[in-house]
Structure formats: C-alpha cells, structure tokens
Symmetry: C2
Subunit: 309 residues, 2 copies
C-alpha cells in the first residue's frame, strides 16, 4: 500500500518504520528541519533496547509532497492537523483514505473540512514511541490500534488497512465504536495530562495524593456528560477505574503535556482535551467547571511562559 505519514514525529516514525519493513511504500511528511535532514542523509533509525535498525525512507516537507497515495495516516500535533491536511491536499485524491490517529477530541470535525466523509477513518492507538534525536526513534514496548470508517462505504478499505497494519505487527482491529475508544482515551489524557502538567508531578506522585481520585472522577464525569450528548456512553465508575488503573500501571511516567509545558515550554494540546469538553459543554448547555478551570490555568501558564499569544 502507498502510505503517507503526515506528521513524522515519534509515533509517525514508529508506524512508518513498521509499515515500511513489511513492504509498503512509505512517504514521511514533517516540518522539523533537523529531523528531515537527518533522515534524508542517514535514513530512519529505530531503536528497541540494544537493537538499532536503519532503513532508507523518503521524507519531505508538506509543501513538497507529490503523487498519489492510498492512505494518509495523520499523526500531527492536534493543533496542526488542519494546516497539515491543507498543505498536502495534492496527494489526497478521490479515493485516498485519511486515517486520523491523533490524541484528543474534535478531530473528525477538522477532517471533514479537508476529506470527503467516505474517505475518513478515525482511530486510536496505545502504541508509544519517543524521539531520541533527529532521525532516531525509540520503538520498544507493545501496543494496539483500533480504527473505524466514519461512513459505512469506507468499511471495506478500512478492513484492508487493518490487514496491512497487522502484517506490520501493529495489532490493529476494526472497531465497532471507535468514538467510544477515542473518548475513553481522551478521559485518560484529560484527567492526567493537564493535572500532572499543572502540578509538575508524574503519575505516581499524583496518585500518592488522596485527593487524586476525586479529581479524576470529577473530570471523567464532565467528559461523560458531554460524550452522552454525542451518543457515546461512558459509564462514570468504569471509566474512572479505567483511567486510574491505566495511569497507575505506568507509574513514574510524566504525561506528554508535562513534557510539553514543563519540560520543553511548548504549546499544549489542552484545547483538544479539557478545552474541547468545555467548548462542547457550552454548546450542549452542560457546565464543565473542572475542564474549564484546567484549560484556563494551562493557558495562563502557557502565556506566563511566553509560549502562547
């Protein structure tokens, strides 16, 4: 399959690497000059424990992407999705499917602006990856992917995508309710990322507090109330347990928003997690004060650090 990876950060490179190894024709697309230069010069290196494997793989800036692909896998930062899809519209043809694997909420609305409904595939993954240095990506651990075509007419091709991913060892399944899985993962990120970023704690430090579970439950409750308005049922008890269990399992990990805000002073994805729930909540007449205050505080911190206008 001809596949473009739109957003070749850690996760994009992991998927690109694994799909290239099983014979797919991969084009990486990214904006980071040092990363592009390193991969063009030295290839993409995947590191798994002591094992390093380098493959030659084309990488271009979005404006340089040419030709026609069967599938685009979007792996940008949340706030960059629309911009990326706009820039690569030259490679998205009438039958090109676009699979969105971003974290966070509301991306299907952005997708609809650039891709016909019949070609949109939404997904969620629990694979992880990390950039070690430009051109070098950490690919250890295991994970899985769930995907679903938004329109029934896209189901056949989406099943082919599942097969291609499984050949590459990506453990994909065709989901009957991918929006549920996306919302449930957003609950994990919405409860943990922003709180750990604001409190400058890792997950283990956060859960050492006997206030932590109350905070998680209130955030999950707001997500659940808003999700219900979109036809997605998130049981509050079950989802709270899911968030707590998933978070305690990874222990002393700093969530990605902590890495963005505290460690690297980069703009966060809060508008696509707590901020999106508050925005949707306003639309549906549901008050979501925990999500609202968290969003306001993260933005205040971003502005205090000079990383947001």
């Amino acid at each position: 399959m001809k596949i473009a990876i739109a957003g070749a950060g850690a996760m994009g490179c992991r998927f690109g690497y694994m799909l290239a190894k099983t014979g797919n024709e991969i084009l990486l697309i990214d904006e980071w000059p040092a990363h592009i230069e390193a991969i063009q010069k030295n290839g993409l290196t995947a590191v798994d424990g002591d094992v390093r494997d380098t493959i030659q793989i084309p990488i271009v800036r979005p404006e340089e992407a040419r030709g026609q692909v069967d599938l685009v896998i979007a792996f940008t930062k949340s706030m960059k999705l629309g911009e990326m899809l706009g820039k690569i519209k030259g490679i998205i043809h009438e039958d090109t499917k676009v699979l969105c694997l971003l974290n966070g909420l509301g991306h299907e609305e952005t997708m609809r602006k650039y891709v016909p409904e019949k070609n949109i595939i939404m997904g969620v993954t629990i694979w992880t990856a990390g950039i070690i240095e430009p051109g070098v990506v950490r690919v250890g651990g295991v994970g899985s992917v769930e995907i679903q075509a938004i329109d029934p007419s896209g189901e056949k091709v989406a099943h082919e995508v599942v097969e291609v991913m499984n050949e590459a060892g990506l453990c994909a399944v065709y989901s009957q309710n991918v929006l549920f899985s996306i919302w449930r993962k957003a609950c994990v990120n919405g409860a943990m990322n922003s709180t750990c970023a604001l409190l400058d704690t890792n997950l283990a430090e956060f859960f050492a507090s006997n206030y932590a579970e109350d905070i998680v439950r209130e955030i999950v409750t707001e997500f659940s109330q808003v999700a219900a308005k979109e036809g997605i049922t998130l049981d509050i008890d079950q989802t709270t347990d899911y968030v707590i269990t998933a978070s305690k399992k990874v222990g002393s990990h700093y969530p990605s928003m902590h890495q963005d805000l505290v460690q690297n002073h980069r703009l966060t994805e809060v508008d696509f997690l707590n901020g999106m729930v508050n925005k949707k909540g306003e639309k549906y007449g549901i008050n979501t004060p925990y999500c609202r205050l968290i969003t306001q505080m993260v933005h205040t911190k971003e502005q205090a650090l000079g990383i947001k206008q």
Copy 2:
C-alpha cells in the same frame, strides 16, 4: 494596655513593635526557637528602609505565657489558631478581649471554642511585614486595620483598642461590618494566592494572561454565593474589580501561598480560603467547583512535596 501578641511572626512583630513604642506593655508569644532566642538575646529589630530600631521586648513560648492581659491579638497561621488559644488559656481571663487578625475564613468559629462571645473581636488588616532573619522584621509601607466586636457588649472595649492602635500609628477604624471586609479580603487571597501558587507566577505574570480575569470572576462568584448564605453581600462585579485592582497594584509580588508552597515547601492556608468556601458551600447546598478543584490541587501538590500527610 497589656497586650499579648499570639503569633509573633512578621505581622505580629510589626504590631507588637508599634504598640510597644507608644507605651503599651507587650508580650510576644511564638513557637519558633531561633526567633525567640534572637529576641531574648538581642531585642526585636524593626527595619524601615535604612532605619533600624531595636527594642527590648519579652517573648515566650505559648506554654510559658503567664499573668493576665487586657487584649490578645491573634496573628498565628490559620491552622494554628485553635492550638495557640488552647495553650495560652492561662492568660485569657474573664475580661480579656481576643482580637483575631488572621487572613482567611471561619476563624470566628474557632474563636468561639476558646473565648466567650462577649470578648471576641474580629478584624482585618492590610498592613504588611516580612521576616528578614530571626528577631529582625521589615516594617515599611502603610496600612490600616478594621475591627468589630462580635457581641454589642464588647463594643466599648473594642473602641478603646481602636484608640490604642491609632496612637501607635496603625490607622484603625471601628467597623460596622467587619465580616464583609474579611470576606472581601478572602476573595483577594482566594483568587490570587492559590492560583499563583499552583501556576508558579507572581501577580503581574498571572494578569498578563487573558484568562486571568475569567478565573478571578468565577472564584469571586463562588465566594459571593456562599457569603450570601451568611448574610454578607459581595457584589460580583464590584468584588471582581476590587480583586483585580488590588492585585494589579502590587505587580510583581508573589502572594504568601506561593511563598509557602513553592518557595518554602510549607503547608498552605488553602483550607481557610478556597477550601472553607467549598466546605461551607457543601453545608449550604451550593456547588463551588473552582474552589474545590483548587483546594484538591493545592493539597495534591502539598502531598507530592511531602509537606502534608
């Protein structure tokens, strides 16, 4: 007047110093060994700009306080008020007035456990002070004090206290609604202290964000709704403006809770600000999610830092 200062930190020392200079008989009471030793050995030194003035003034630990005083001025940390009043009950006689000048809410309930209603005077002050080192206190700037007897029978003596304070230059007035002033000051502290502590910003950095005023307004709204249940009218617009104006005036100052939590890793007074509003809100059936989340987050941070069990 024979006056004991129960809690001779920065503010207690300022009041003790100014009242001693105009001939009152002052006894300082505190628990900080280095501070007690320094004042016993070298006297209390007040620093105002280039001017240093040292006076001899007795200071004892609470358990050592003896005799009878006309007035106790309580200046402890909020969470230490009850313990202090319990320990110095030997100097609180039938006619001893006790004036509470602590920041925060709910102290009149603590006072009632240790002091007869007729002897309770509540107050609020905008004087500031700082400890430079044990035994040395910074006393620059200007301020004022408002006090009011809780019971009408205490009014006469409270007026005498106002006179004694004014002789000492403390700019005191007898208030007709001290609880209003206490709540309004608590709004300033509840909106600014906990947010700046959580975000690790000073007031100017906080207000540089265009989310800051929304955060302040929502916190003030919760304070106002709960205050109304106690017969205190805090107009939301006016109080929001008051908080913003008061805070912007002091600019690059770090509020005391930032000093406690971020700079010195000390337990905060959040339970007497946002936490008290949430607690009272629960009692009155008013939902106060901003105050609740702020309290939960401050406690989570205190626990992550190992300063709270």
